[in-house]
Homo-oligomer: 154 residues x 2
DNA sequence: TTAATTGGGTACCATTTTAGTCCTGTATAA
DNA sequence: TTATACAGGACTAAAATGGTACCCAATTAA
């Protein structure tokens, strides 16, 4: 499936919710209500997003969460890595050559290039795009050109 | 991480191995030896690839596995979906609107577009590319243009 | 026709990952 | 000072994943 974990999904939904009302501060309880998910789970997700620097939090009365920067400067890749860690398709495309099968593998390098292309794609999609109810019409063509999967030939 | 399962990784390595010697028939045992993985695991992977129509098998003496079609006509997306099922980033991007949170979600459509872009990218990478020890220099720019993530605006 | 070879299918178990919950602590504003 | 709300971590339950074993089916050559 190559799919996102459920928590990552929640994170995107919650971030979009905050982005649509970015002027206000949102409590975990309000957000949980808005997106119809259990409070503790939403809370956990929010904490991860704070730790990743995508949200800022304020404790106490009138506290809550706000975007740490404009939605146009937060990418899908940011949200995914906040929850799941770095975007990479294979174990070996993140850690440095720790794979003892490297000798017989023969596809590692090319997987890394594919990985890079996907990462670049995800970096070109912003929270502003995701939160928008209109279809994305972002310039995805452009960043992909800069990938061209031959990047590693340098 | 957005990562492939380990079996998918194995599948890619095994497929690449077969692709590099596509004239011969490969037994599960030979392949397991070549890629240094346990025989039963490789065997299981091979069966999935056969079921997906990417490999053909021949039983009996002198039997083994061969590519069902040229490596240039087998894509990374084919291999991934053979093992993990359809390439999709979220639950709801494969099944038809079964998500009861759709009302409060608000990001489903856009995730689907991202999903589509990734799928198209993976479809543009062939087994021939993966098996090649030289860096991929494939025309990834072109298919991406056809995505442009505005496809769903139609 | 029979024996050896090789894949096919299924069921099972162990491990890991994921998800969800709870508890206790800390900061803040009224 | 008290109610509110986030911070951090521990814990548990559930699910997915990976790996193994076993027995069956097909093919071929002697």
């Amino acid at each position: 499936m190559l799919k996102l974990s459920r928590l990552t999904d929640y994170a995107a939904v919650v971030m979009a919710q905050i982005a649509r009302h970015h002027q206000a501060s949102h409590t975990a309880a309000d957000l949980a209500e808005a997106v119809q998910l259990p409070h503790p789970t939403v809370s956990k997700t929010l904490k991860m997003l704070v730790k990743a620097g995508l949200l800022e939090s304020q404790r106490g009365v009138q506290g809550g969460y706000r975007l740490a920067r404009p939605a146009s400067q937060i990418t899908a890749a940011d949200i995914i890595s906040a929850i799941e860690g770095p975007v990479a398709m294979t174990e070996c495309s993140q850690a440095e050559g720790e794979c003892e099968l490297a000798a017989t593998c023969g596809v590692a390098d090319n997987w890394q290039r594919v990985s890079l292309a996907i990462r670049t794609l995800l970096e070109s999609v912003t929270l502003a795009h995701l939160a928008d109810t209109a279809p994305i019409k972002l310039p995805v063509q452009l960043p992909i050109q800069s990938i061209s999967l031959s990047a590693a030939s340098a």
